[in-house]
Amino acid sequence: MRHSVFLFVPIVVLIAFIARPLVAFEANIPVLVPLTGFLSLEGTSQRNGALLALENPPKNVAVKFGVADTSTAPENAVTALERAISRGKVSAVVASMLGTQMLAMLPLAIEYKVPLVTMSGTASITEMGNPWIFRFFPGDAITKVAHARYVVEELGKRRPAIVYQTTAYGQSGHRHLNETLKKLGIESVYEEGIDTSVKDMLPLINKIRRSMPDVLMLHLHSAPTALFVKQARIAGITIPIVTGSAMHQPSTAALLEPFELNGVCAESGSSPISGGTAGIEKFTRDYRERFRSEPDAFALGQYDATAMVLTAVASGATTPDDIRDYLSKNLYHGLAMDYVSDGKGNMAHDAVIICYSGKDRRPEIVKHYQALDSSY
C-alpha cells in the first residue's frame, strides 16, 4: 500500500505537469473600434479581423481581450482607452481606424506607454514622431500612387475626371491623387468634391460628360461609390471607372448588378475574396464561418496586425515596450503582404488593383504594387 502511494503521487504530478496548458505568455489586447456611426462598416471589419486573430492565438500565448465601441467622437476613443488601461496591464491596443480618434489617443499612448495598432489611413498619425503608433493599412501616400499609376501606365488614359468626397478622407485622397498625376505628367479634365448626403449623381455625371474624360477616378465612401457607378451606367457612361478602396468591399459590390460592375476597377490594400494564397483562402473561409459575412481589406489588415502582435508576444515580448520594439524592428510575413516599419510606424507598403469582369461580384487582382512610397 505504502509503495503504491509513493508510485501514485509522482505519476499524478507528472500527468498534471504534462497536461498543464502550454501557455508561457499572456497578453491583454483590448479592441477599441468604431462599431456605430458613419464608420461602422469599416470598424466592424476591423473588429472582426482582430477577433479572428485573438481567438486563434499561438499555442504558447493566452489572450485576454474585450471589445469597446468608440463610435465617432474622439472623446469616446479616449474614454475607451483610459477604461481599458484602468482595468489592468495592457500589452497593445487594436485602435480605431478613424483618424480624429487616433489623433486624440496618441498622447495617451505616450503617457501610458502602450502600442496602438490601427488601420487608420490618416497620414498625420505617423508624422508626429510618436513611437507607439503602428499603421497596418497602406495610407493614401501608397494607395493613391497605385490608383494613379494604374490609370496612366496600365490603362494608358490621359484625361481623367476626379470625383472625391468632401470629408477628410476624400480630401486627403484627392490631394495624393493629384500629386501623383502631376508627377506622371497628367492633369485632370474635371474635378469635383461631393458631400456624403448627395443622392442624385446625374447633375455631376452631366458635367463630367461635358469635359470629355477618358477615365473616371473616384475617391468616395462605400454607398456614394455604388451610387455613382450605378447612375453612371444608367446614364450610358461606358468609359472605365477606377475607384478608391470602398469599391473592393463586398458590401459595396452587393449594391450593384454584375453588368454594372463591368469595367470597374479599384485600389485596395488587399482583396481577400479574390483569393491568391492558401493562407488568404483559409482566412476567408474562417471569416465567413465566424461572422457570416464577406471579409474585406480592413479585416485582413487588422488580422495581420493583431497576428503580428501575438507573434511578438509568443516570441517573448511580454511588456508593451518589448512589443513596440518587436513591431518597429521586425519584418512580418502577413497574409495580405509583408509588413515592416518605415521608422515612423507605417507598416504596409503594398497596394493592389482589383477589377470586376461584369459576370459576377468577385473581383480579380490585376496588378500588385510592392513597396510603394510617397517619394515616387
Partner: protein, 290 residues
C-alpha cells in the same frame, strides 16, 4: 432634353423629401415639438423594406403597404416612449427624447442589419422608358406617383375625414379638443403612426435608387427641418414646397455649378427667404413654435 431629365429626377427626389417633411409637420402640429427621430424613421422604413424583400419575393408596390403598416407600429411605440411619458413637460423635453429615440433606432439598425448599405426593390421592375428620346426611369415615375398618392390621401384625411378633423382639432387646441370628447392621447399616437408610416414609405422609395445606411437619418432630418423652415413652421403646403426647393437645388442648380456651391446657394436662398418673409413662404401657423 437634359433639363427635362434633371427636372424629372429632381421631382422624384423632392417627392420623397416631401413625404419626410409631411410626417415631420404632422407631429410638429400635434405636439408643438420637433420629432428629431423622423430621419431615422425613414431609414428604418428603408431597412424594413430591404429585409422583407430578402425574405419575400414581392415587388416594391406590394411591400409599400406592409412597410407603412410596420412603421405605423413603430410610430405608436415612439409616441409611447418619447412623447407620452413627458407630455406635460415643455416641448424641449420631447426634442431630447426624440433625439434619443433616433440614436436608439440608428444603433438598433446597425446591430440587427449590420452597417452595410442596403437596397430595397423598385416599386415596378423593368428597364427605363423611352419617351421621345428621353430615358425615363420607371422608379422615378413610380416615386412621384406613389408620393403624390400618399400626400393626397393624407390631405384628404386631414381635411375631409372625421378622424382627420379630430387630429386637426387636437393640433389646434388640445384642451378644447379634450373638452369636446376627442381622445387626445389616441389622436397624438395616431399622428405619430401616420408620420412614421409616411417616413417609412419615403425610406422604401429612396432605398432603391439611393440606397440606405443606418446613419443616413441625420442628413434627412436636416432636409426636413430646412423644408419646414422655408415653407413656414407648421404649414403642410409650405413643407411640401420647401422639400421641392431643396431637391431643385440638388438636381437642377448643381447641374450647372459645383455641388458645394449649390448647397451654399441653397442656404443663401433660405436666409433670403427668411429675410423677406421671416415666417417662411406660407407664413407660420400661430402657436406652433415652442
Amino acid at each position: 432634353m437634359q433639363f427635362i431629365q434633371l427636372a424629372l429626377n429632381g421631382l422624384a427626389l423632392g417627392a420623397a423629401y416631401a413625404l419626410i417633411a409631411l410626417g415631420f409637420v404632422l407631429v410638429l402640429n400635434a405636439t408643438r415639438a420637433v420629432n428629431f427621430a423622423q430621419g431615422d424613421l425613414v431609414v428604418t422604413g428603408g431597412f424594413i423594406g430591404a429585409a422583407l424583400a430578402s425574405q419575400l419575393p414581392l415587388p416594391g408596390y406590394a411591400l409599400l403597404p406592409v412597410v407603412m403598416l410596420a412603421m405605423a407600429g413603430v410610430g405608436f411605440c415612439v409616441s409611447a416612449l418619447a412623447y407620452w411619458p413627458i407630455r406635460s413637460r415643455p416641448p424641449v423635453a420631447v426634442f431630447t427624447t426624440t433625439i434619443a429615440v433616433g440614436i436608439i433606432l440608428q444603433n438598433g439598425l446597425n446591430g440587427v442589419f449590420g452597417p452595410e448599405p442596403r437596397s430595397a426593390p423598385p416599386l415596378f421592375t423593368g428597364s427605363n422608358l423611352d419617351i421621345y428620346g428621353l430615358a425615363v426611369s420607371r422608379q422615378s415615375l413610380a416615386i412621384i406617383a406613389a408620393a403624390a398618392f400618399l400626400i393626397a390621401g393624407q390631405l384628404f384625411l386631414t381635411n375631409y375625414a372625421q378622424l382627420g378633423r379630430a387630429m386637426r382639432a387636437t393640433a389646434q387646441d388640445r384642451d378644447m379638443a379634450a373638452a369636446i370628447g376627442i381622445p387626445v392621447a389616441r389622436m397624438i399616437a395616431f399622428t405619430f403612426a401616420v408620420s412614421a408610416a409616411l417616413g417609412g414609405a419615403a425610406g422604401l422609395l429612396l432605398a432603391n435608387q439611393f440606397f440606405v445606411t443606418p446613419t443616413d437619418g441625420t442628413n434627412l432630418i436636416i432636409k426636413a427641418y430646412i423644408a419646414v423652415v422655408i415653407g413656414g413652421w407648421g404649414r403642410i403646403g409650405g413643407a411640401l414646397a420647401g422639400a421641392m426647393l431643396i431637391a431643385l437645388f440638388e438636381t437642377i442648380i448643381s447641374a450647372w455649378m459645383d455641388y458645394t456651391v449649390a448647397t451654399g446657394l441653397l442656404y443663401v436662398a433660405v436666409l433670403g427667404i427668411l429675410l423677406v418673409r421671416p415666417s417662411g413662404l406660407f407664413g407660420e401657423v400661430e402657436g406652433r413654435r415652442a
